[in-house]
Amino acid sequence: MKDPNLKDKIKETVEDIWGSVFRHGYKDTPRNRILQIISNVWLHLHPARVREHGTKLRFTWCMGGITFFVFLVEVVTGILLMFYYTPDVNKAFADTMDLMYTVPFGRLMRNVHRWGAHAMVITVSIHMFRVFLTGSYKPPRRFNWVIGVFLLLLTFLLSFTGYLLPWDQLGYWAITVGMNMGRATPLFGHEGPFSQFLGMTANNDIRFSLVGGTTIAAPALLRAYVWHCIAIPVIATALMIVHFWRIRKDGGISGRL
């Protein structure tokens, strides 16, 4: 243990491990500032440089960023709620009440998830409003606007599918009404225009495929659960990646090009 070089050896090992994780030391140069962004897996979707006006809150309102933050909150609280929730008609409501009254922090998690859902619809709408007002949908950002419209629809669908999950009267009848509107879908809903050309009936139209039956029952609950917890979040995440990446590709965050 009396190795005089021991201290140096330890220092070398620590620096070795550190260097294997962080490939670049932080010497504050313009080049390193760019490397910090482009060599980081979480940040490399973003532009390495942002124009000064891009940081002006009065222009962007940061509503897209806040929407993404709320989405992350929804992911975290949603995963935690899934630990106590069973998508079964005999258990769903009891599990929800359990979360409200017995699980430690269960009520907090459910309320954060619910209010976060409301907030996300609001912030995503304000984001779209701002993009419209500043004309940020114009070329070359046209495609990103289209992706944004799909993300807006996915946000609404997340709210809609989440509504049924507590299996209470409110959600049950909301989904009943919403799905009955699906009957009027042109071509694919059995009460919609032109549906006779495709031979649509109550047990083969678009509503039937979404509900998994002709009434809102156990298959509808399971489908809402899978769409809400897995399918739509995965699709939305994929679109979000493209959405953020296109900001860089289309010339950076809002402002004149």
């Binding site: 140069t29 080049r31 269960g106």
Partner: protein, 173 residues
């Protein structure tokens, strides 16, 4: 590309780098962030804390460990009765009763009673126990658990699986 002094990040008016200098200019900002992360960390620790955190439910939907099994006379004079859903054997020898766990003390399989040999046998690794629950062969390290068995005021037997008693304990009715 060589880095010149001009390229350095001289963001504050004094020409000092904000990342590595704690100036009075930033004391409130640092204090604010420090409080924010301290509060956030406190909440997170409390949220995931053992015994009282989110992952420790306060209400369980499991069968009660204490249950009534009926009057003594429903068990034959000299018998071993398996209550499968309760996972206990009721052993009766004349007027003496025992409640034995069906869980093998080796690795937790369910033991079976053999009427012919008058012993308990474990199907997994061949542990064997006498009729009184004492292990005598195989890898089992100790006797089958004995649970408390009592008569309640209506004259019915009550087993409490949350209370273990010694191997010699018997209820004499």
């Amino acid at each position: 590309m060589e880095t010149t002094e001009k390229d350095r990040c001289d963001t504050s008016e004094t020409g000092e780098n904000i990342w590595f200098t704690f100036s009075r200019r930033h004391i409130l900002s640092l204090a604010g962030w420090g409080l924010f992360f301290a509060a956030l960390g406190g909440y997170l620790i409390r949220f995931f804390w053992f015994k009282h955190g989110f992952f420790y439910p306060k209400v369980l939907f499991e069968p009660s460990p204490k249950f009534t099994i009926g009057e003594p006379k429903i068990f034959a004079e000299h018998s071993v009765t398996k209550l499968k859903s309760r996972r206990v054997f009721i052993v009766r020898n004349g007027d003496r009763f025992k409640a034995l766990s069906v869980v093998c003390t080796h690795l937790g399989c369910a033991v079976e009673f053999s009427e012919k040999k008058d012993i308990f046998e474990c199907p997994c690794h061949g542990s064997k126990y006498y009729r009184n629950g004492i292990n005598f062969a195989g890898p089992a390290p100790r006797p089958l658990d004995n649970f408390e068995i009592v008569l309640d005021y209506t004259g019915r037997l009550v087993v409490d699986k949350s209370k273990s008693v010694s191997v010699e304990t018997e209820l004499i009715v």
